[in-house]
Amino acid sequence: MTPEDIRTAFVEDLTSVAPDIDPGTLDDDEHMQDDLGLDSMDFLNLVSALHKRFNLPIPESDYPELATTAKAVRYLGRALAGQGG
């Protein structure tokens, strides 16, 4: 998967959790909680969706790696590469 593919998938899961977020105006450096207003349940649902889509464990200790779209795309890319691809 290219970083663009990962970003597309991430934004899809993010906007599914928070349907009012406009993918067109989403800034990749916006913070999930502070800027986009995700609460802990929204964030957990996002992590659950990513887990389901990518089959990655995403432990709680890695949550800070998902703080922004840019960070999440890098994290998911690394995790997928390390998984054996």
């Binding site: 502070d34 207003g37 609460d39 802990s40 349940m41 929204d42 649902n45 659950s48 990513l50 995403i58």
Partner: protein, 413 residues
Amino acid sequence: MPSLGADMEEGKLAEWLVAPGDRLARGDIVAVVETQKGAIEIETFEAGEVLELIAEPGQTLPVGAPLARLSRPGEEEADAPEAGSSPSRTPEPALEPESEPVAPTPAAEPAPATPAASAPRPVHVGPSPGQGALASPAARARAAEAGLDLAALTGSGPGGAVLLSDVETHLNAVPAVKAAPGKPATKGKPGLDMAEMRRAIAAAMSRAKREIPHYYLSHRIDLQVAQEWLSATNADRSPDKRLLMGALLIRATVRALAKVPELNGRFESTEFAPAGNINCGMAVAMRGGGLIAPAIMDAQDKGTDETMASMRDLVARTRAGRLRNSEVTQGTITISSLGENGVDTLFGVIYPPQVALVGFGSPRVVPVAHDGAVAARVCVMATLAADHRVSDGRRGATFLAEIDRLLQEPESL
């Protein structure tokens, strides 16, 4: 049209989920209604067969207007109760101080105020098929044409009979009744009118501040043990099975109510009625503003994992606009938790007719005295806003202390 809150005056039927001939059991979901709180699934409080769907999707109807007719097993059609009418209104009796009571006297000059303020308020309590109301034939015909329930009108004719002029006045005053398209307003999401929601919050909170003599208590709870247990538990779980601290806070609060049951129940009109079950309202902030507090029904029977599953389900359905009427009208206590990114302390306003609101600020690492030394530990400020007509600070303190005690043993919650 059931009342889904003391502040609700009308609702718009979004869709029917049943058809004539369907046999219903008590609690079956029969329709979806759009309200100030978003789309709500309406449950029937009566078993029976659907005889007739009176309201049409898209129609806006005043609270109390019949939506459909059911046959009660073994009874004549004429006695058919109205689906979703009286039982759901009982918890919110016609005592609604937010709005002017409708004078039963002939109103020669109806107030041309806002549609909401001038809409006649149905005050009948028992099942009362609209056809039984006193009305002139012309009024009856016009009301039928407009899809209006005669029982919802105040008649100015002899013996309170509804005249054609009453129907016209009502239709002119409440244009929305004529299945009009939705009002233009800022929409947070489909089926949710933010201005209406703000109005609903304002009405409920004004009533709380006017009628309920609040007292407030605050207590800092050390969550270090709970946090460590949570992290260890979640480490072995896939994301969809993980717990949030919020689930522990709700579970501990629900269990603590067993020790101070007078905080759980409803204060309707003049008397407090303690509730046998705990329908634990959970304040859910709407993205884009506003707040809904749907209840986790029978929370006393749900362990931590089940509580978490219920929370997930409720939040998802709140966001999607698919709550059930029991969940928005039958709460017995409310918990408002700021989650991870809020401030230290939340001072709650009780959601009438409940008598207590428990608030949790954001858990934070703070310096506290622990085992004779100062240590950095995760703590949360728990607060209680409670109704002084029902309980006193001493009992409230017992309650917060019990929540604290329970949270020190998270594994046995």
